[in-house]
Amino acid sequence: MIRFRIIKRKPLPGWAKIVIPIAAILATLILSAIPILLAGGHLWKSYFYLFHGALGTRYNLLETFVKASPLLLTGLAVAFAFRAKFWNIGAEGQLLAGALTATVLGVNLGGIPPILVLPIVIIAGFLAGGFWASIPALLKTKLKVDDVVSTLLLNYVMIHIMGALLFGPLQQPGSSWPRSSAIVKAACYPILMPRSRFHMGIIISFVAMLIIWFINKKTTFGYQAKAVGFNIRAAHFGGINTTSVILWTALISGGLAGLAGVGELCALQYRLIMDISPGYGYSGIVIAMLGNLHPVGVLFSSLFFSVIIVGAQTMSRMTGVPTYIAEVIQGMALMVMLIFLLFTEFKIKVLRK
């Protein structure tokens, strides 16, 4: 009888860290053939339009960066939190908190010097997201409430707060739709490339990536957060104030997600609507895992995801495969990556008896 055992293996060499995510992405793309074929799409044509739609023309390529910006921010948000084992599943709600705050300020800040408006909106959006994430962090550290559940539930609380405001005080006067008035001109992100939507928020997300990388690698706080994530008890007895580490982690994590919301509002929509986020906060979880919680990894996985999301639009138009294929591929990518990551630590041994 042949039996399989999963046993620990020696640490893999450094190159494996780069090869494995790439292999996972390739495996995901191969697996994507199943839903494409199920949908009756022509396989090679579908793959072609998937990539052509995302990278083929100047506009589409820039559009891929537009899509990558919120995904990079929510991916960083989740990765930063998960690294300290703060299970922030609430990036969606924190994103909405950022967008909501940016709306309130963006609509009403017409009277102050235009140069000040955008910095105020961005900082407030960051703080709003951070505040929303600090609630579950406080509940976790002070009252031992499970962070997975509380962050999740707070997403729905935020959706309903937003709904109540959009049907109430924030609703555009005279409109019967749940949408706010447009934000003032000074609160809009500048467009950086003509004939495209390539906006300042993309630069912000890349800078955020570098800052997070710096915090993780070069600061005491980055080291402490890693220690808390590795073993919170050991970190505590080692003299780290774990409560404060988790709180700051939550603040930064939520803030990053809040920035994603500010970007969507101030660069693309210009007014708050109920479906301002098509689930970027949840995609951020997959992106963080796919990027192995490393900022550079998160950058590449968010780019990969935006290729899939933008490309799926073209693919759907040309081959009739529903655009939801993008979500299916995202889900598959996560599971494939998990299995691949497992084999960096463990190997399957065949036992013969």
Binding site: V149, S150, L153, V157, P322, E327, G331, L338
Partner: protein
């Protein structure tokens, strides 16, 4: 105004709505209790419910048999439960991440299959939903009778499942094995209980319950499939499991409170009292969080929860 609240029809309607809105939560919470008692937190619940809702609707639409739809939803739940077991039990991956992975995957898949089958019609396709069944005699009890005992068959089944799961967990050898696997897999393994198999079976059975819970929403509560049909009810069910200290009866009480608020919100809307309906929808989630604060100090978490079990790492 007050008279309208105290109206008998209103109270009876509210009781009925409470039962109805609690049903999917009860199914899902029972499924989650089964999984967690065996030591696996299944965060795939939200996705499994959505797939159940979609599968149930699709099969009822195609075959015309609503019970076949329920059966298909249960099977789909079992399949996804099996996938969860494969990832988190057999491969020993993080339960948090595998569960969320399943939710994301199943959410995408549910919408993908729905679009594949129905396209994007301007008017969503509908089915002939379950009819409410009035139990003889009981439904004639004044005030509470009509609400409590004129329900969907699935609601009655949910009611029967609560004591059934309790008996299974606390009064049978199988239940003892399940709880031992969840509390201390090393001990369970030592006395000859197959930890992997027990956890797998619990996830599969739990998945079936979650699938049916989701199907209730498209086959009884509504007659169509909408993308946000689950609307976080899976997460509420998980919260109710914690709130109920992993006990089927207590979790059901939590589900009833949620059902009451959900039902009250619907009833108030129907009598024309639009008390910002979003503020109202928020209450159950807020209350759940507050409830979690209350119980988390004395929570009787199964000790083996979240810990993958590999024989080689015994005692580790």
């Amino acid at each position: 105004m007050m008279a309208e609240f105290l109206d008998l029809a209103f109270i009876s309607g509210l009781i009925g709505a409470t039962m109805r809105m609690a049903t999917p939560i009860i199914f899902a919470a029972l499924g989650e209790i089964l999984s967690e008692r065996a030591g696996v937190l299944n965060l795939g619940i939200e996705g499994i419910m959505l797939m159940g809702a979609m599968t149930g609707f699709l099969f009822t639409y195609s075959t015309g048999s609503i019970w076949f739809g329920v059966f298909a939803a249960a099977c789909m739940g079992m399949l996804l439960g099996l996938l969860m077991a494969l990832l988190s039990v057999n491969l020993g991956l993080s339960q948090h991440v595998s569960g969320l992975g399943i939710t994301l995957f199943a959410t995408g898949l549910a919408m993908f299959i729905y679009r594949l089958h129905f396209g994007s019609p301007t008017v969503p396709p509908i089915i002939q939903p379950f009819k409410q069944v009035a139990l003889p005699v009981l439904s004639k009890i004044p005030v509470i009778g009509p609400g409590l005992f004129t329900q969907y068959t699935l609601t009655y089944i949910a009611w029967l499942l609560v004591p059934a799961l309790s008996i299974l967990l606390y009064k049978t050898t199988i239940g003892l094995k399940i709880r031992t696997v969840g509390e201390n897999p090393v001990v369970a393994d030592t006395v000859g209980v197959n930890v992997t198999l027990t956890r797998t079976l619990c996830l599969v059975a739990g998945g079936a319950l979650m699938g049916i819970g989701g199907a209730f929403l498209t086959l009884a509560h509504q007659n169509m499939f909408l993308i946000d049909v689950i609307g976080g009810r899976g997460w509420v069910a998980i919260a109710m499991v914690i709130f109920g200290n992993w006990n089927p009866f207590k979790a059901t009480i939590g589900a009833l409170i949620f059902g009451f608020l959900d039902g009250l919100q619907l009833r108030l809307q129907s009598v024309g009292l639009v008390l910002s309906f979003h503020l109202f929808l928020m209450i159950p989630y807020l209350l759940t969080i507050i409830a979690l604060i209350g119980v988390s100090r004395r929570a009787a978490v199964p000790a083996g929860l979240l810990k993958p079990y590999r024989r080689e790492e015994k005692g580790g």
